[in-house]
Symmetry: C2
Subunit: 417 residues, 2 copies
């Protein structure tokens, strides 16, 4: 017997029939003898509707009132799932963030979970065999007693934080995919589902564009060493053997992964734009002059590449921003031209970033070099390179994205047999 | 300067444009120097949608979970109105039942308000000139920390209870009619809007089928002597002089009504069915044998008429039930025939109840007699009569309802000039 947190997203609870399906998944685990807490999102589309009303009510709306409005979506699904569970003979009770309570920071609309009191829920596991159905995405500001929300996608984070607070054995995230793949299977048909992936690799994969899980939920899993199991909500509950190993990907600590590959996966993002600031003075403060104004404009800068200057006097600096921020970023830099003191601005919008990720790189040399050679053989020009301990990224022309991803996928032995 | 509670129903907050209109009403009162708490219902249609989901999830759903689901409707509108108010420069904050808190009984889905702590809201009136936007219809069970709701139409009750707790000067109920009429204006075009009506008369009018206000809200107003002003939410906010006397009806104590009429209004209900139990033994316990099983079947019995028996041995007993319960009521009585020991059952479904209401009847004799004579002159047969201190009702064939109401309306001088 174990303790389990099960998280279901918006499409899994989009209507009463889908909620019935979720209830069958829960019943399977309860019947197998587990203590279960379920974390639910709002019905798909609901949060967008509520956010739309807030924006319509006032474009510059108070985040505290926004939170009160949008948190209602999860309140509805938590109550409905509790009703459905009771209807099939399972003790269940819904919980809103303020009832548990899930205490968060006061950063309304993007609050961080500070503390979760799992006592009452654990007591009810023991005394009543009661399933806790918890509204995801929300908490309470303990200072003001106001509802807070965690920001979009926050239900993943709720689930992992609750799993940690309840000292669960595992947090199951039911999604519309059946696990984490070595890369996007729509681009690389030979992409392989990973049975296990280390937290660190998943963090990079999630940050680099794989949209399976919210990054913060993986961070939390890593901090609390809480295994996260990504699995499909479309699997028929009756087809699953609760004692078997269902299809899915376990995100866990490196130590639990017997057979580590050097490279775990390839991520990519086409929504990139490149800005190269040419011939700036190579002196302290010049990077601050560029990135200060961008930060003030709330533009998220991704890759930053600055070369050692040849002559010790001038250098070039290249960075990427999300394509949607391209125009604003370009304007921001142009406005600050006098202060930065650059000669020319080169920009490109049809660029893509391809990232190769693997904790195994730490102990293996030459991993990146192999990639550069393979890409060169395909005549794919590399515009810029950044590296970290367990990842490297190349910026290339967007037209070559699929070719580059497939090439690297094969190169590192990720193709399925 | 005064303190005001303003209540707006579902049609008044049906969308953001309507909510903007509500905000203008609030702004008018704030600008006039009043301290204002606003009580809102869910957007029209929302509560029905939420209730439908609960029923769909399980026909026999847990009332605690039902309450968690349906209370979300008012949560949304309270947050949205706060946003709109802030957008036009008015300090505002939304309040859910659990935040104030509004403590209720544990009778989920039909809870009664026990206690409201108005301290924080009054403090904010004083210190921040802040408008409180309160979700109607809901509270919290202080024992369990669970959300409760007051039952359909409960926002009227919320508003009056909050007005009492905040020691407000008046509770304004904005509805889709511009006040309380002597009878339904759709039936009697000469119906007159009452400037004032006593709590007792309004209670009878509300109980007897006039659907302007929830009965419990009038009871609460009477208990706390809280004047309730019924007015139209369709009046344009900019057309209203905050210092003048807007169109509407003030429900208040008798003492504040200078010129009392003997009869205040005529109420009627066509959704009635009549059941006459013939030749039952005239002995103790026979009424219990009839009404016990009806109560067990949760059937609401309205009029009860039992005549003094002629021979001291057998008598007839007539009662009415809502037309929707007619079949169930008939079956219930038939099943209990042996125990009741009646000879014959006479029933009628096409019947209507017409009630004449007026506190002035207390001090005026012969009020009912005039009515019986006038109805007889119109050849309207009276099937049964019940009377109370400030009201009498007659049961007639439904076909004569309009004629009877118009006749009595004219008879008691209620027609407008």
């Amino acid at each position: 017997m174990g303790r389990l947190v099960m998280k279901f997203g918006g499409t899994s609870v989009a209507n009463i029939d889908r909620i019935r399906n979720v209830a069958q998944h829960v019943k399977r685990e309860v019947d197998a003898g587990h203590e279960v807490a379920v974390v639910v999102s709002a019905m798909s589309g609901k949060t967008n509707e509520l956010v739309g009303w807030c924006t319509d009510a006032s474009p510059m709306h108070d985040a505290r009132e926004y939170d009160a409005v949008v948190a209602s979506g999860e309140q509805v699904t938590s109550g409905l799932l509790a009703i459905v569970l009771q209807g099939i003979g399972i003790q269940a009770r819904s919980w809103q963030g303020w009832q548990i309570p899930i205490k968060t920071s006061e950063a309304h609309a993007s609050a961080r979970i500070l503390d979760i009191d799992g006592t009452e829920i654990i007591t009810r596991f023991k005394e009543r065999k009661e399933v806790a159905v918890i509204a995801g995405f929300q908490g309470i500001n303990p200072q003001t007693g106001r509802i807070t929300t965690l920001g979009r996608g926050g239900s993943d984070t709720s689930a992992v934080a609750i799993a940690a607070a309840l000292r669960a054995d595992r947090c199951d995230i039911y999604t519309d995919v059946d696990g984490v793949y070595t890369t996007d299977p729509r681009v690389v048909p030979k992409a392989r589902r990973l049975d296990k992936i280390a937290f660190e690799d998943m963090l990079e994969l999630a940050s680099q564009g794989a949209k399976v899980l919210q990054v913060r939920s993986v961070e939390l899993g890593m901090v609390h060493n809480m295994p996260i199991f990504v699995r499909s909500s479309f699997d028929k509950p009756e087809d699953i053997d609760p004692h078997g190993t269902p299809p899915g990907t376990l995100i866990c600590s490196e130590e639990e992964i017997m057979e580590m590959h050097v490279v775990t996966g390839i991520a990519f993002s086409k929504d990139e734009a490149q800005i190269s600031v040419r011939q700036i003075e190579d002196k302290p403060g010049v990077a601050a002059a560029i990135f200060g104004p961008l930060a003030d404009a709330n533009i998220n800068v991704d890759m930053i590449v600055q070369n050692v200057s040849e002559d010790g006097k001038t250098t070039d600096l290249t960075f990427t921003v999300p394509a949607t921020d391209y125009n604003r970023a370009k304007d921001t830099i142009t406005s600050a031209k006098a202060k930065i003191g650059y000669i020319r601005l080169d920009t490109a919008t049809d660029v893509a970033k391809v990232s190769v990720i693997g904790s195994g790189m730490r102990s293996h040399a030459g991993v990146a070099a192999k990639a550069f050679k393979a890409l060169a053989e395909r005549n794919i020009n590399i515009r810029a390179i950044t590296t970290s301990e367990i990842k490297f990224s190349v910026l290339i022309d967007a037209a070559y994205t699929e070719l580059a991803v497939r090439t690297l996928h094969t190169l590192y032995g990720l193709d399925q047999a």
